[in-house]
């Protein structure tokens, strides 16, 4: 057996894995699952954020609509009051005549 063969045999000899090797391997194989979990969490968060944003937008739109309606009714009421005053004036004038 020459030196080369001895060296080769030595190099190819079964070796004991370093400490924590199994955990490292298991951790590496579990990584895709962790990624999937992250993706699910991110998607759920995004969906909730979107739903929250839409709800906020809807709420703001509703509040704006409510304010506009109240404003419209207030102006309508004011102008109706002007008409009412005119009618009352005419009625009073007629009564006095």
């Amino acid at each position: 057996m020459n030196d080369f063969e001895t060296q080769l045999r030595q190099n190819l000899k079964r070796k004991q894995p370093p400490m924590g090797f199994t955990q490292k391997v298991l951790l590496q194989t579990a990584t895709p699952k962790r990624h999937l979990r992250r993706w699910i969490l991110a998607t759920v968060a995004a969906v909730f954020s979107l739903a929250g944003g839409l709800e906020l937008y809807r709420y703001q739109q509703g509040q704006f609509a409510k304010q506009q309606v109240m404003l419209a009714l207030r102006i309508t009421s004011e102008k109706s009051h002007v008409a009412q005053m005119k009618i009352d004036q005419i009625n009073q004038r007629r009564i006095l005549q």
Binding site: T76, K79, H81, Q84, I87
Partner: protein, 187 residues
């Protein structure tokens, strides 16, 4: 303005009185040059339904408003304020009035003053057979011109409720009459 110009305007208004939103067909630019304040409120059907959802049932004012706007399809307002009396032409207001007097419109009240110092008001109903399809309020005050159009099917009870809420004037039982027509001229 010559009759040649007035006729198409009237035809335009009459066409509008039968259906489309009257207020949006008015040429407001005519009044705009001297206006110091210009208010536009457009509340369409979608906004009304949105507002209805956000109006409280427990707050009496909001509950009443919710009930009032129930059958309405829109409330459209244009209002302009002017620095001094006479900044807008009464002849233009007269044209507006003519526009509200189409076959589908009933004149309920019309108060005219030609002195330029008093208010000119008019209330007009848009009819669709025996139904009321809307109300138009025209208030031409010396320094302010306002047109309010309430669109939507309004039943006599609702008309009464609108009167009770001060949104339309009460004239000797007008609120409870479906097709009542009263005119008052104070010229």
């Amino acid at each position: 303005m010559s009759n040649f110009k007035v006729v198409p305007l009237l035809v335009f208004f009459l066409a509008n009185c039968t259906g489309q939103d009257l207020i949006q067909s008015i040429d407001w630019e005519r009044f705009a040059p001297k206006a110091t304040e210009n208010v536009t409120v457009n509340v369409d059907g979608f906004m009304l339904s949105m507002a209805q959802k956000f109006l409280s049932d427990t707050n009496p004012d909001e509950a009443q408003t919710k009930k009032l706007i129930g059958n309405l399809k829109g409330i459209y307002i244009r209002s302009m304020k002017f620095k001094q009396a006479g900044d807008y032409n009464m002849a233009d207001v007269e044209k507006l009035r003519n526009g509200f007097s189409g076959p589908a419109c009933s004149k309920i009240i019309e108060v005219k003053n030609n002195d330029g110092k008093s208010e000119n008001v008019g209330i007009y109903l848009k009819n669709n057979g025996s139904k009321i399809d809307g109300i138009v309020i025209l208030a031409a005050e010396p320094k302010e011109l306002t047109v309010v159009q309430v669109v939507g099917s309004i039943d006599p009870d609702q008309l009464k409720a609108l009167g009770d809420a001060g949104l339309i004037p009460k004239v000797g039982g007008l609120s409870s009459k479906k097709n009542g027509s009263k005119q008052k001229d104070d010229e």
